[in-house]
Amino acid sequence: MEWSGAVSLGAMTQRITRDEVVHVARLARLSLSDAEIDEFTSQLGDILEHAADIEALDVGDVEPTLHPLPMVNVLRPDELCPALDRDLLLSQAPAAEDGQFRVPPILGEEP
């Protein structure tokens, strides 16, 4: 398969726009330079192009896959385990106060 920049750049204009990449980056709170935006637009375009190739296959006879792992119902009994020592837990945090994690002011609202 050909993976030259020219081909993927052609693909990306159809699969994902620069604006969409900027939007997704904002959702993930990623700060991207202009060069990075171009780079990821191109890479994501390639990935979507590949997905489109797979989408084009006839999979009518194939059982849908719920999950990559071939297992279901991995469960544990409802039994207590000892809790972490709180001082040890809080000692891992940048800041703690009154037995709680202390975090900077939250911008935005509860989900």
Binding site: V24, L27, A28, R29, L66, H67, P68, L69, M71, V72, N73, V74, L75, R76, P77, D78, E79, L80, C81, A83, L84, R86, L89, L90, Q92, E97, D98, G99, Q100, F101, R102, V103, P104, P105, I106, G108, E109, E110, P111
Partner: protein
């Protein structure tokens, strides 16, 4: 609907869907063995998994899955193979920066809930997810927007929840309240949650919109949060619906957003505009494998299902002719087993239910048995006790006095029915002593007759220290005046 049911202008119809979060009463959290309980001491019920430490892995609690499926079946849902998903967001109430939930493949879907009056509300889904931790905002009056910093307690992070999402089928405030109380009754009956709104183990969000009456469109909805009681739910929906009507009437329109219900101020305030679902960047949880319950497991759940409140009400309805509200109350309080037992033991069904509703509205009635209640009701129907005495005896039975034996309690108070000839002698004497009153009773108009009946009954009660049976007195007076 009650007389207090507030109504929108006739040309507008209310459209409500409810999202109810229910904490499951498992011993441990959803994905780890930390204790699932309320603790006032922050961060003492945590482990590497529920604080999202690197290298930790979640494993699903089998009891939580069973409880979720039991709830699904109680709501008539189909159980599907399901996968867990990550709902990503930036808020420190989850140390992992995502909540593990179900997205496009929930365990339970397509059910329904029948309200006490027979109205059916569709259930879109009832999915499994984990609860988040608790944040406290410090400085700036404790509000999130002007806080200096925030504190986080992860005791609640990872507690198993089921979120029950209704269809937008609810058309009145009364039905919204009835939905929540019916759901609570079901949760208690199947013993998967203690379902206490005031303690947060059952939390209700309401999606509210309005539309022109007769139309079937769905207009812009607002999601109301911070509703802490059934009463508050009614007020919040009512307020929000009126706000929408006012906006449309002024040529404006509501915008789709989450709104915060302020119970004290009696109003809702704007929160964030509703994010699109894909803004949460849902994706499948790679650390958990799918749930795929077998037909045998589902059959086992169905077989172990207790009789649900709706069927329990229907049973009492067949046996009695009391008003629906009486039966609803008795079932809601879980006193229907007591009532059924007493009825089976031979007591009059209507009397049993009415007595329970009126005189057994107490937290602890465990000292009252079906047998003792049946005996009491039979003493009442047999004329051994007056209505007032029955009420008093039942109160003392509930308090466990004298071993809860109605005969012993009645005897201890000297409650003994007057022999009817004793009563008759007394009435005859009163007629002789009060000839004017008696003639007003016999010959007077309805008002006079009523007044004098009150007078004679009062005299008799005074003479017998309240031990005479009011109905027997009325009957005797009737007979005497006719004879």
């Amino acid at each position: 609907m009650t007389a207090h049911e507030p109504s929108l202008p006739e040309e507008w119809e209310l459209v409500v869907g409810l999202e109810v979060h229910v904490e499951l009463a498992t011993k441990t959290k959803l994905f780890c063995g930390c204790e699932n309980k309320f603790s006032h001491i922050p961060n003492t019920l945590t482990c590497p998994t529920c604080v999202g430490l690197p290298g930790s892995l979640p494993v699903m609690n089998e009891k939580a899955v069973e409880f979720a499926m039991r709830l699904g079946r109680a709501l008539g849902c189909e159980i599907h193979p399901s996968v867990m998903a990550r709902k990503n967001y930036f808020y420190p109430d989850m140390a992992k920066d995502f909540q593990t939930t179900q997205y496009d493949q929930p365990t339970n879907a397509d059910g329904q809930l029948a309200l006490a009056d027979g109205t059916i509300v569709g259930i879109e889904r009832a999915h499994i997810e984990e609860d988040a931790g608790k944040t406290t905002h410090v400085g700036g009056g404790g509000r999130i927007n002007d806080a200096t910093y925030s504190l986080v307690d992860y005791n609640r992070a990872g507690v198993p929840l089921v979120e029950i999402v209704s269809q937008p089928d609810i058309r009145t405030v009364g039905h919204a309240k009835a939905y929540v109380s019916e759901l609570r009754d079901i949760l208690l009956a199947i013993q998967v949650s203690d379902a206490k709104m005031e303690e947060g183990s059952m939390r209700v969000d309401a999606n509210v919109s309005v539309r022109p009456t007769g139309s079937d469109e769905l207009r812009t909805r607002c999601e109301l949060k911070n509703i802490n009681s059934v009463r508050s739910l009614g007020r919040a929906i009512e307020y929000e619906a009126r706000r929408h009507v006012d906006l449309y009437t002024n040529g404006e329109a509501p915008r789709q957003e989450t709104r915060h219900w302020d119970e004290e101020g009696g109003r809702s305030t704007a929160g964030r505009s509703k994010e699109d679902a894909d803004d949460y960047r849902y994706f499948q949880e790679p650390d958990l494998v799918p749930l795929s319950p077998t037909a045998a497991q589902i059959a086992e759940i169905d077989a172990s299902m207790p009789v649900l409140p709706a069927a329990r009400r229907a049973r009492l309805g067949e046996l009695s002719s009391v008003a629906d509200e009486v039966i609803v109350t008795v079932v809601e309080r879980g006193q229907d087993g007591l009532a059924l037992g007493a009825i089976e033991a031979g007591a009059d069904a209507d009397k049993v239910l009415t007595r329970i509703q009126n005189d057994l509205a107490v937290d602890d009635w465990s000292a009252v048995t079906s047998e003792s209640l049946a005996m009491l009701i039979q003493m009442e129907t047999g004329g051994e006790l007056t209505a007032t005495q029955v009420k008093q005896v039942l109160g003392e039975m509930a308090a466990g006095e004298h071993g809860g034996d109605p005969k012993v309690i009645a005897a201890a108070h000297g409650f003994e029915a007057m022999e009817s000839n004793e009563l008759e002698t007394l009435v005859d004497q009163l007629i002789v002593d009060h000839p004017d009153e008696w003639s007003r009773f016999v010959d007077g108009d309805d008002g006079d007759r009523k007044k004098m009946q009150g007078f004679f009954t009062g005299q008799i009660m005074k003479a017998t220290k309240g031990q005479a049976d009011g109905r027997a007195v009325a009957q005797l007076l009737g007979q005497k005046s006719a004879g």
